[in-house]
Symmetry: C2
Subunit: 337 residues, 2 copies
């Protein structure tokens, strides 16, 4: 028990060959009940456990999936992980978790580590899809699923996301229907291209369509953290012309914004409406309850994992684009003028 025993030791103790032990362990054919019992009893009494690394070497599979996300302390991403883990686990895969903090060099570093480690697959929540990324995924042959945004540059791997343009468009439309004419947006960072850009685009489309003014000073591009939301709100509200509604592209930012607004004498939603995005756990606990675009990150993660398993199993992929549903949830942080 103490000392690490190998299949050879088991073979010796059971008086059989290594091949036989291996066959017993893998339930292969061509081994008699007699020897099987003998081997099994030795395995039992020594508490022998096969070395997965050695196994991995010959089988050319590690049963490890690399999951790369911007940050884990963001509720959206941790829920994503929950969904991913749930399905991967049932297929006997484990997760190698890495976080990029939105830094592209880190992303590339981790992707290379994933490759070095011979991981069986990658689930990647992209920050910005650069040429370097394209290179990596062009040369490499690891099954991959992109998560959270469209990755059009590569035709070989699927992605799962919501229709961000449409969702943002609808959210903005809702504010417009509520008679808001001066609507600001707190979008994701420019780096985080697709998502940030798409939601901004949806917002702009809605405004344009309604013939409303679009001031760039009412558009911020910051990270999805409470602090950044706070800061973005301070920027927007420092303009001489102030909006009556803010569309925050994440609940985190919405929360930070509301925090700022209240500390500076604005009431939400009486003075200013705030719309969020994501519907994180606290959106309903917070007061006012957050009006927001609900995503289902657990489902998204699970979907991504399933798509990955499909690839690993060699099934031909059904669709590159996998859009999952979202839903506008009206609660208390927005109000008709």
């Amino acid at each position: 028990m103490q000392i690490k025993s190998s299949i050879k030791d088991i073979a010796k103790r059971a008086n059989v060959s290594v091949s036989t032990v291996s066959r017993v362990l893998n339930n292969s054919k061509y081994v008699s009940e007699d020897l099987k019992r003998r081997v099994l009893s030795v395995v039992e009494e020594t508490g022998f456990k096969p070395n997965m690394v050695a196994r991995g070497l010959v089988n050319k599979k590690t049963s490890l999936i690399g999951v790369l996300i911007p940050r884990i302390s963001n509720n959206f991403f941790s829920k994503l992980i929950e969904g991913i883990e749930e399905v991967l686990q049932t297929y006997g895969y484990n997760i190698l978790l890495s976080t990029s903090y939105n830094e592209i060099e880190k992303e590339l570093e981790y992707l290379n580590i994933f490759e070095d480690r011979q991981l069986d697959g990658i689930i990647f929540s992209v920050t910005e899809f650069t040429d370097q990324h394209k290179n990596f995924f062009g040369e490499t042959v690891v099954p991959t699923v992109f998560l959270g945004q469209k990755v059009e540059t590569l035709k070989k791997y699927p992605y799962v996301t919501i229709d961000n343009i449409k969702a943002a468009y609808e959210a903005t439309r809702y504010l417009i229907k509520q008679k808001h004419k001066r609507i600001a947006i707190m979008a994701g960072p420019e780096k985080d291209c697709a998502t940030g850009d798409n939601r901004l685009q949806g917002y702009l489309e809605a405004l344009k369509e309604a013939g409303l003014p679009l001031y760039t000073s009412w558009q911020t591009r910051r990270y999805h953290t409470i602090d950044d939301g706070y800061y973005a709100a301070s920027q927007i509200m420092s303009q001489s012309e102030k909006p009556t509604a803010i569309f925050a592209c994440s609940d985190q930012q919405a929360l930070g914004a509301i925090n700022y607004l209240r500390e500076h004498g604005y009431r939400v939603p009486e003075d200013i409406s705030v719309m969020g995005f994501d519907d994180v756990d606290l959106a309903t606990v917070f007061r006012p309850k957050l009006t927001t675009v609900k995503q289902n990150p657990v489902d998204m993660g699970a979907t991504a994992a399933r798509l990955l398993i499909d690839q690993i199993h060699g099934n031909s992929l059904t669709a590159l684009e996998n859009l999952v549903p979202y839903r506008l949830v009206v609660r208390e942080s927005t109000k008709s003028l």
Copy 2:
């Protein structure tokens, strides 16, 4: 590029032996500048990357650390991970993430997987330390650090936590100083032994010392989720005699409780004070801002990771118990009677 090349191919192309290639790759001595250049250029042009699995097999190290926590979507644990990853990364280790959802069988299952996979170390946020756990850690020899609670049954591995008894004692003391005489507690589940029990113990000590009544109907034991907090509050408030203060052993539960209270016509803190534990991100965003016992999970994670690295490097451990600081942060959810 396309086809996976091995060190052998490189050797052939560079007209040297495998050993030489390996030596070049590992920067070992005894290889001339001439051959070195030749090998390096072949490596360059083929984009060769050594197979970490094969390396792991001979080096008997995987550079992988198993991290086992109850759930990742809890902000406390995800911050823990942030701290862990930060230091592990600088030492070239990656994280294999697993979540137990407080299920003991799952914990044991994952621990066994960790062992099978030859992980170099384990960071384990225990739910309940059972005999089976004891067995596992008795027989196994993997460097380990326990996180979040005292694990006294094993003298060989360190743990990092805060002094939960004292922290809960002080939190309760604070409420008592605020003239509260009827104080309820929402503790962690019974399963989650040390933490839940310890905080309950600190609470009881403070009450006893002050000669205050302790009703078991004012003590709940539930998971640290918003929903469980909501439910626990409903239980406590359904008693005929109602408390004037609730000490929730997690911010999550505190939030759920406040939610319940407000929905049922109680004002916080005017009618009932609510004290939290953890100081998660939203504790300051939420209104009323949460009075809470601040922990620093990022630091805790980093500390645990460092202790693990120490073990792996074979340094003798300095102390079994590693207590990290905590701090009572008074904000708006509590009020003097």
